[in-house]
Amino acid sequence: MADRRPFLHVRDVSKTFVIDNERIDALHKVELIVGKGEFVCLIGASGCGKSTLLRIVAGFEQPTSGDVRVYDAPITGPGSDRGMVFQDYALFPWMTVRQNVAFGPLQKGLKEAHDIAGKYLEMVGLTKFADRFPYQLSGGMKQRVAIARVLANEANILLMDEPFGALDALTREQLQDELLEIWARTQVTILFVTHSVEEATLLADRVVVMTAGPGRIESDNPVRLRRPRDVSAPDFNEVRRTLTQKLTSHVSRRQLKTAA
């Protein structure tokens, strides 16, 4: 544990897209360090580059300048150490739940792939549904499969891009609780994109507020609330209000600027 190198280090990352000859600065000199086992939420208005940042960490996109390192080793592409959980699940529809979860271990040639899949399916409570196809599952169940899939692949960084955004409120609450439980059990590091301040306040050790035009980090806020957190507690509301202010004050300032 005495490793002094930063675990996940986003170093001075900028990303420019060119769409129809128009340059879009999705990210501008973003610097972020995430400790091992930390739960970090990225929030911000749409267009602030939070998803782009996540995709760069995943290795799906290359930064225009800067780089992302894990223990000083630069990320060059997708890797099994980082597992992305997509908002639209991205399960393989032609595979059963068990086959989806066993896919990563099978790619590595592990003979015990199906046992590994079984273990993680149990962790997310889907043992009974192991032989179903994704179309037979609810949204919440699909997202549990997606989480089990990256955990079975031995990802130690979970990258979650608004994973619960498409779910109804009740299912979302349930999955948030389950995620916290899994996080506590597996000690994975989580980088979680959301646009819900409440969700960020409930889940995160740190909430990173991002702003658009160009996308950059506006503030980095440790959340010092004890777990399990109670969304109706006064101190919870206090944190949420502060974060909301940071988020909206900037949005309205920018809107004023563009209006002027």
Binding site: P78, S80, R82, M84, F92, P93, F103, Q107
Partner: protein, 260 residues
């Protein structure tokens, strides 16, 4: 009750057509078009013999098998070439740029226009028929496969990459299964065209086959024989299509929306 209704409606309409046909032949007094009853007698003779006892009596299996050999020879050739070619054209932009203009130019040429050249290349005989069937089945299979590959959700590739799957194993494990619904659409269309083209293919002077029976019927001015041949092709094509649909529904059991 619903089922009875569906059957009554589905069977009632052709029955009404047959009655109309019968009435039309009788009322017009034509000798060129046989009544449905005369066709039924011809069908019986074609299948079992014992009515006219001529060259066509009891020969249904000979002709049907000869035609099926050519239909499936051409069809499987088209599938064996069209599916792999479609997979690589769909996935490799370089190949697409190389081949797409040529294919787009060749595609609108009607298969019948190839008939003279096909006779030059393959002579008068079954090989010409197989070639024409192949041409007709090839394009729908190829184009639907390309379409299937190009419309795979890019997230599935990202998910596969992150789970350690790339290169050729990506083709087998993700591209092919994800494109299967479209590939089956192409196979089903191509299969339909194969049966349509068998008559054209067997116009090239082959002694057996349902197409040749129809051509003989025309030469001999025997419309009952022509119609009998048409019915056999229709029924055989229909039954084989049901087989493909059953295969489709089994292979695509993970996607009910693609069931035929």
């Amino acid at each position: 009750m619903q089922r009875v209704r569906a059957i009554a409606l589905g069977a009632g309409f052709p029955l009404a057509l047959i009655i109309l046909w019968h009435a039309a032949v009788l009322s017009s007094g034509t000798k060129l078009v046989p009544t449905p009853y005369m066709v039924a007698v011809m069908m019986r003779d074609f299948a079992f013999g014992g009515v006219y006892d001529d060259a066509f009596s009891g020969t249904i299996l000979t002709h049907l098998l000869a035609s099926m050999q050519r239909v499936y020879g051409g069809f499987f050739l088209a599938a064996a070439l069209g599916v792999p070619l479609g997979l690589v054209i769909g996935k490799v932009p370089l190949l697409r740029q190389l081949l797409d203009p040529t294919l787009s130019l060749l595609r609108p040429i009607p298969v019948t226009a190839w008939l003279p050249l096909s006779m030059v290349f393959f002579g008068l005989g079954p090989r010409s028929a197989v070639f024409l069937v192949f041409l007709g089945a090839f394009y729908p299979i190829l184009l639907n496969t390309i379409f299937g590959v190009r419309s795979v959700d890019p997230r599935l590739f990202e998910a596969a990459n992150m789970l350690g799957c790339d290169g050729t194993s990506l083709f087998r494990k993700v591209v092919l299964p994800a494109a299967l619904p479209s590939i089956f659409t192409g196979l089903r269309l191509g299969h339909g065209f194969a049966w349509i083209l068998i008559v054209v293919g067997e116009m090239t002077g082959v002694p057996t086959g349902l197409g040749s029976v129809i051509m003989d019927g025309r030469t001999l001015s025997r419309a009952d024989l022509v119609i009998t041949g048409m019915i056999v092709i229709g029924v055989a094509g229909f039954l084989c299509d049901r087989l493909i649909v059953a295969l489709n529904n089994y292979v695509l059991r993970w996607s009910p929306q693609h069931h035929g």
